[in-house]
């Protein structure tokens, strides 16, 4: 498995310039890439049989003024259900976009199941995915000034504003 990881690392590094790859565990590989490279890297990884997109996540690094998009991929079993060890590996692709201009491209053309994940990130972080067919609300019911999963959204303050403070039982008796 370690060999397999090394091979993939070399292939990736020769194909794409300016990416950083680290292997923190035997079963994980993290690729840091520029945002322009994401689509081509995803296609490249998919062609290397890592064809299962498990998750798209987003982290708000507010102090650095950036959003980090995280794509986690692994491999389905290849061929006739034999375990080769390849499916153990999780590949994490990370890219950063600025908080001021939260725009990115959709990856539905590569992985079809990216659709609800991008929709959710659009709703909770306010990132606009260009080319996404329906960026309609998914989970939330109300309108928010700041998308609620951003770090500058204060849950406690919001609850007080919307639902008012609940009085203590002692105060109610008066």
């Amino acid at each position: 498995m370690v060999k397999m990881n090394k091979l993939l690392k070399e292939q990736l590094e020769s194909a794409f310039k300016g990416i950083r790859i680290s292997i923190p565990e035997d079963t994980r590989m993290i690729i840091h890439a520029k945002k322009e490279q994401v689509l081509t890297i995803l296609k490249f990884i998919q062609n290397k049989a890592y064809d299962h997109l498990a998750l798209i996540s987003c982290v708000d690094w507010i102090e650095e003024g950036e959003f980090e998009l995280v794509y986690i991929m692994s491999s389905y079993l290849q061929g006739n259900n034999k375990y080769t060890g390849k499916e153990k590996v999780n590949i994490t692709l990370k890219t950063r976009i600025t908080r001021k201009n939260p725009e990115f491209v959709t990856v539905i053309s590569v992985f079809e199941n990216a659709e609800p994940y991008e929709r959710e990130i659009h709703e909770l972080f306010g990132i606009n995915f260009k080319g996404h067919p329906r960026l309609t609300p998914l989970l939330l019911e109300r309108e928010y000034e700041i998308p609620p999963f951003r770090k500058d959204f204060d849950t406690r303050k919001y609850v007080e504003q919307v639902f008012d403070t609940i009085p203590f039982v002692e105060d109610k008796k008066e």
Binding site: L53, N81, E112, N113, E141, P148
Partner: protein
């Protein structure tokens, strides 16, 4: 069902298939565009149960999150505890003693049996097999009794802890597990006669909501949905956690990819789980059940990020977690199996299906609404 809008010109109706419908799994709804009995377009609407757990967890310490995390999935809270514990252990580099690994595996397999029985209840109920539904609910209760004795809670257990499990098996608990599983296993012929080999079940489920292997892979399926198409994709084998690498077990698969195959995979999995629990009980070593963790009130976990995954009873359950060196997680994101099944695959499968098959499709995809919303 409630008619929202009527377009007489092309006779297309919009039907709201909401939580009040018997064939619906929990708090979830689908808006259907139908022409006659045929569904033209289906839109899944989650959000009824969105409680913002991932945001809430950013406000609580690592240990305070344990009572929260199990509430994400009501039907099987145990795999949630496991995946969160695994992620914390990976980030904080905590070792788990050997006996705790075995106890975790036994506990998770019991949870799988309980959860599958609950799923069987929903499916049998939807098809009108009320007797089978009552049986499976009764047998699930027997599993819950075991949980109650072990952890003090029937539904939410908060039992798996970073560094091991909360407490050891009480005296005589091993025999109780064996007795309960024997009484459930003894009823398998009855279940087969009344439900699984029943002609009505075959007629009602065969060919319904069929998905090919290629398409299932393309749409990111996991769990029974994928295994019913013939792929032996199971995290317990691929990336063994707890004590799953210590025992030998089979992964039941079927080839057809329809509702019939999926329910059969669930049945076979339950039996396999029971066998696995017996094997684990035989092999279980003596020793400690948890390693001491630092004072949880002053527990700062070093900077880092990790992705942990387990095979929950519905498919691949993952957790992406980021720590920035504080006493609280910086970002938590769950990858739940029902998310892809309920939002991508369901919409695809309902196209061109008939209205009568909506419930069948949903429940056979094994969707739990709280898992989608989080």
């Amino acid at each position: 069902m409630q008619i929202l809008q009527k377009n007489i010109s092309d006779r297309e109706l919009e039907l709201y298939f909401g939580p009040q419908h018997l064939g619906m799994v929990g708090n979830f709804s689908i808006t259907l565009k139908v022409q006659g009995d045929r569904i033209v377009e289906a839109t899944a609407n989650p959000g009824y149960l969105h409680r913002g757990f991932e945001k809430l967890m950013e406000y609580r310490t690592w240990i305070q999150n344990f009572p929260l995390v199990c509430r994400i999935n009501v039907v099987e809270p145990d795999h949630m505890e496991m995946v969160y514990s695994m992620a914390v252990e990976k980030l904080a580099k905590i070792e788990v003693p050997e006996r705790a690994h075995y106890i975790r595996s036994i506990y998770l397999e019991l949870a799988r049996v309980g959860s599958h029985l609950f799923g069987l209840w929903a499916y049998a109920n939807m098809l009108g097999f009320d007797t089978v539904a009552q049986w499976s609910m009764y047998h699930r209760d027997l599993v819950l009794d075991l949980f109650e004795e072990l952890t003090g809670g029937r539904v939410y257990h908060i039992y798996i802890w970073p560094g091991g499990v909360r407490r050891d098996f009480p005296e005589g608990f091993k025999d109780k597990i064996i007795k309960t599983l024997h009484s459930i296993g003894g009823c398998v012929p009855d279940y087969d006669a009344a439900f699984f080999n029943n002609r009505l079940f075959y007629k009602r489920a065969n060919g319904i909501a069929q998905i090919s292997q290629q398409e299932a892979k393309k749409l990111g399926a996991a769990g029974q949905v994928l295994r019913a198409t013939g792929v032996k994709f199971d995290i317990r084998k691929i990336e063994p956690y707890a004590a799953y690498d210590k025992v030998d077990f089979n992964i039941p698969v079927r080839e057809n990819g329809d509702a019939y195959s999926r329910v059969w995979v669930i049945r076979d999995e339950m039996i396999e789980s029971v066998h696995m629990i017996f094997k684990l009980l035989d092999k279980m070593p003596e020793g400690e059940v948890y390693n001491k963790i630092p004072n949880p009130f002053k527990w700062n976990i070093p900077k880092g990020e990790t992705y942990a995954r387990v095979e929950s009873s519905r498919g691949e359950l993952g957790l992406y977690m980021v720590s920035n060196g504080q006493d609280k997680p910086y970002r938590v994101h769950f990858r739940t199996p029902s998310y892809t099944h309920g939002l991508v695959i369901l919409e695809k499968l309902l196209k061109n299906a008939s209205i009568a098959d909506v419930g069948n499709t949903m429940i056979s995809l094994y969707i739990v609404a709280p898992e989608i919303d989080r």
